[in-house]
């Protein structure tokens, strides 16, 4: 069961990731990102992280992707014929970049093979029953990590103020 679910989510996540970086229209990239985020939420459930899976769906899939889609609709940066849909100048081109990219891909593949070849099952018995629930994460969050938690609220406040300050139109367009 776990193997089947992981296989499905892995294929979906990889397809979504490829969709993010390969699609020519930003809306399709946003949909690919949504696919990746939902697949990873299922993976979090498989790994016993219920709270993180719920937070992933609410914050990432619910808020951040909607923000992306909203900005895409606002800017409408064009379809396949707009210059911003292409590749960066000189990226992946030329005699220097191609061997470099090939070497990096080979390195990644070798690392993945080495990683997967020594696979051993995750120990299941060692975990408490409440591992990863809201109570468990919350106890840690309001205990050992209380100071970082409060700092996180300041980060969110700074982000909110920054967004408002940047989004406000300052006088007539220059």
């Amino acid at each position: 069961m776990d193997v089947v679910l992981f296989g499905i989510t892995a294929v979906c996540a990889l397809a979504g990731g490829a969709g993010v970086i390969l699609s020519r229209r930003p809306v399709h990239s946003a949909l690919g990102l949504l696919l990746v985020l939902l697949s990873l939420a299922v993976d979090y459930l498989l790994l016993g992280a219920q709270f993180i899976a719920a937070a992933q769906v609410i914050i990432y899939a619910g808020a951040i992707v909607v923000l992306f889609v909203f900005i895409i609709m606002l800017l409408s940066p064009g379809g396949s014929d707009s210059p911003a849909s292409g590749l960066k100048g000189g990226a992946l081109a030329g005699p220097v970049a191609a061997p470099f990219v090939a070497a990096l891909c080979a390195l990644l593949a070798a690392g993945l093979v080495a990683l997967v070849s020594r696979a051993s099952p995750v120990p299941k018995a060692a975990l408490p029953a409440a591992f990863g629930t809201v109570q468990d994460v919350g106890r840690s969050l309001f205990g050992r990590y209380l100071l970082p938690f409060e700092a996180a609220s300041l980060v969110l406040l700074a982000g909110m103020i920054g967004g408002v300050a940047l989004g406000r139109r300052l006088g007539p367009r220059t």
């Binding site: 990889l14 993010v20 995750v122």
Partner: protein, 99 residues
């Protein structure tokens, strides 16, 4: 399911995100690729939290979520601001910060 498979998926997703940041010209897609990389790291953290039987990794993921939310709000506001003044989201066309 063995943990290295999760780590391998995370590595491939991170590589895809890094490739998107390096290669694409649209600032919006560069931002989505950054989100992809952050999510790959989150998957690694959750996997190691599961391996160690400790919830600390999941708390770290929570903080990554918070920072990602703030980063997206400020970054998209900057993109909108640049688009208002330059009428483009092409990161190659934007050279105002070049030294």
């Amino acid at each position: 399911m063995p943990a290295p498979y999760y780590l391998a998926l995370s590595a491939v997703l991170f590589a895809a995100g890094a490739a998107g940041v390096l290669v694409r010209r649209s600032a919006l897609i560069v931002f989505m690729s950054i989100e992809l990389m952050l999510n790959a790291v989150n998957l690694t953290l959750v996997t190691f939290a599961r391996l160690r039987g400790s919830v600390d990794g999941q708390v770290l993921v929570f903080f990554v979520l918070v920072v990602a939310a703030a980063e997206v709000v400020v970054g998209l506001a900057i993109i909108v601001d640049v688009f208002r003044s330059r009428e483009t989201v092409d990161v190659d066309a934007e050279a105002a910060l070049r030294g």
